[in-house]
């Protein structure tokens, strides 16, 4: 009888969906997530295309369903250190990193966060604002338990403070907490480790990191989110004023042999969405999208783009800008219009805007190589998890019994990730269900 427990690595929407489906199918699921909360990238989005659903509103019930499921063992702030064995019988070692907070006592009240004097750049908000050294990654975090970032905590750095301990009425602070090793025995493994945004400062011509009002797509999402660093006000970084004209540059670091040769798949759509959101917040704002091929291939996507054009006046310009310069904080986009009407003059143009959003390439998550190495699966030449037979077994990795779903195996949007997650669950079910001749009705 094969082991009917399953390990899911990665707690984004794909990992969450796979876990829920497997648990509902009767399997014991161990969901491992590197950060203190499940939710992943979807928690960082404001809205999702093409429905413009509030992202966290549709994600939160799934997070809670997953965490509350009797057959899901949530292991957040944990990492995989070793995997041995084969399909049906994997032996996994996990490292539970110390939160320095007793999960059984912490009520998530937040008093400790109020008292903590130490502010550090907030990774959830793409470092656009600060969080405390003891923190909850975002307001709807699951599990709702605090974590102490030991690398920035005054107690761990200098042996002082301990104000959180003083503030905590539940006595949940545990500075002496140690990391723990957890050993699991599972029959199958599902990888759902997601993606990271590409560091576009490499593209010096676009001035990211030098020109203040040049930001990335994910940063835009955080700015326009009600729970983000500016409470949903789209503010130009330079003067905190709302922009009047904004430009989206597509394929930054994507479809480029110098950086990432592939297409990141979701950027044409997320730029369209962001232009719509900007238009909703500021009806007089003008948006321009500089694209190469406008990849709106999914269900409802073409209609969404039409809506952006007709209802929100978004203008699409087919050009890959060569350079962005700045004058007094106003970025100027230098480009060449590539589509010509007969008789039109071809020339280099410039557009002065208030804010530039670089739709950055999305690359395999930084933990990928390590995880793939530990688990023993192959990566393809750009670093995504290799799927040997995409046509018949689109979720099967190079190792039997190990499956991969979502962005970690190929750039894709939320519906496709969710589909692959459920699909991976079906593959696991097939693998781990003992053969049965049939059942009486």
């Amino acid at each position: 009888m094969k082991n009917s427990a399953v390990l899911v690595i990665g707690g984004g929407i794909a990992g969450i969906q796979a876990s829920i489906d497997l648990a509902n199918l009767g399997f014991q699921v161990h969901l491992v997530e590197r950060t203190p909360s499940i939710g992943g990238r979807m928690a960082q989005l404001d809205k999702t295309f093409p429905t413009n659903d509030c992202s966290i509103c549709i994600l939160a019930p799934k997070m809670i369903e997953c965490a509350n499921h009797e057959r899901v063992n949530l292991l957040t702030y944990s990492e995989v250190i070793e995997v041995e064995g084969q399909a049906g019988d994997f032996r996994v070692k996990l490292l539970k990193k110390p939160r320095y907070v007793d999960m059984n006592k912490c009520t998530g009240c937040g008093e400790c966060v109020e008292r903590c004097p130490r502010r550090v750049p907030n990774e959830f908000n793409l470092f656009l604002d600060r969080r405390k050294a003891i923190y909850l990654p975002f307001p709807q975090a699951v599990p709702r338990k605090m974590t102490i970032d030991a690398q920035n905590c005054l107690y761990f750095l200098k042996g002082r403070c301990r104000l959180c301990e003083e503030a905590c009425q539940a006595g949940a602070i545990e500075f002496e907490q140690k990391e723990e090793t957890v050993e699991l025995s599972v029959g199958a493994i599902i990888l759902a480790t997601g993606f990271d945004p590409y560091d576009v400062s490499a593209l010096r011509e676009y001035g990211y990191g030098e020109i203040e009002n040049v930001i990335t797509g994910l940063e835009f999402e955080r700015l326009i989110s009600a729970s983000g660093p500016t409470s949903g006000e789209l503010e130009r970084p330079s003067d905190e004023k709302p922009p009047q004209v904004i430009a989206f540059i597509q394929c930054v670091g994507s479809r480029d042999v110098n950086y990432n040769p592939y297409c990141s798949t979701v950027c044409c759509m997320h730029a369209t969405k962001e232009a719509i959101l900007a238009g909703e917040h500021y009806p007089d704002l003008k948006s321009f999208v500089f694209y190469t091929d406008l990849r709106a291939v999914g269900k409802g996507f073409q209609e969404y783009v039409t809506r952006a054009k007709e209802e929100y006046g978004v203008t699409y310009i087919r050009a890959r800008p060569g350079r962005i310069t700045a004058k007094n904080g106003h970025p100027t986009v230098w480009y060449e219009e590539t589509l010509f009407k007969e008789g039109e003059e071809r020339k280099v143009r410039k557009m002065e805007v208030d804010l530039v959003i670089l739709c950055q390439a999305l690359v395999p998550h930084r933990s990928h190589r390590e995880v793939a190495g530990k688990v023993g699966v192959e990566l393809d030449e750009v670093g995504f998890i290799r799927i040997p037979d995409r046509l018949s077994r689109p979720m099967d990795t190079s190792v039997e019994g190990i499956f991969a779903c979502g962005f970690c195996q190929s750039p894709q949007d939320i519906p496709d990730s969710v589909i692959q997650a459920s699909g991976a669950a079906a593959r696991v079910a097939e693998l781990l269900t003992p053969e049965r001749a049939g059942r009486d009705g």
Binding site: N52, D53, C54
Partner: protein, 142 residues
């Protein structure tokens, strides 16, 4: 709460189509006048004529029933019954002296957020034009 230009309008919306359409209007942040209040029912056919009469006779300025487009009712036939009842009800209202425009039936699908917004705006304007409901009866004792 009600005054000459602040009507109070009751809207029955069916769960599968029009309530979802109203949700979509919300998600799309479509502004509309604030005088309509939505009550959810599973099917527009749940709305019995007595509700409409009771609402209007207690002084509400308008009652709107929203359902799925004919042919698309989640329960196959519900909205056909709604349509028939609406016809009879309009006649009855006129007969007892309530402007039949105070009762409206419209079809809104789950994807018609914009239509919901337009419908609400249009009906609100029409009911404002009729003035406040002159027919007010106290509720029965007990």
């Amino acid at each position: 709460m009600a005054s000459d230009d602040q009507p109070t309008i009751l809207v029955f919306a069916c769960n599968w189509c029009s309530y979802a359409g109203a949700d979509l209007a919300g998600v799309s942040r479509l502004e509309m006048p604030p005088h309509c209040q939505v009550v959810r029912v599973m099917c527009s056919a749940r709305v019995r004529p007595e509700f409409v009469i009771a609402a209007l006779s207690r002084g509400l300025d308008g009652v709107v029933v929203l359902g799925c487009h004919p042919g698309d009712c989640h329960y196959s036939e519900g909205n056909y019954y709604t349509r028939r009842r609406a016809l009879l009800l309009k006649g009855l209202l006129e007969y007892v002296g309530i402007e039949s425009e105070r009762f409206q039936l419209r079809w809104i699908s789950a994807s018609e957020g914009a239509k919901f917004a337009r419908t609400i705006t249009e009906i609100t304007d029409a009911i404002k034009a009729l003035g406040p409901n002159g027919w007010r009866q106290p509720p029965p004792e007990g």
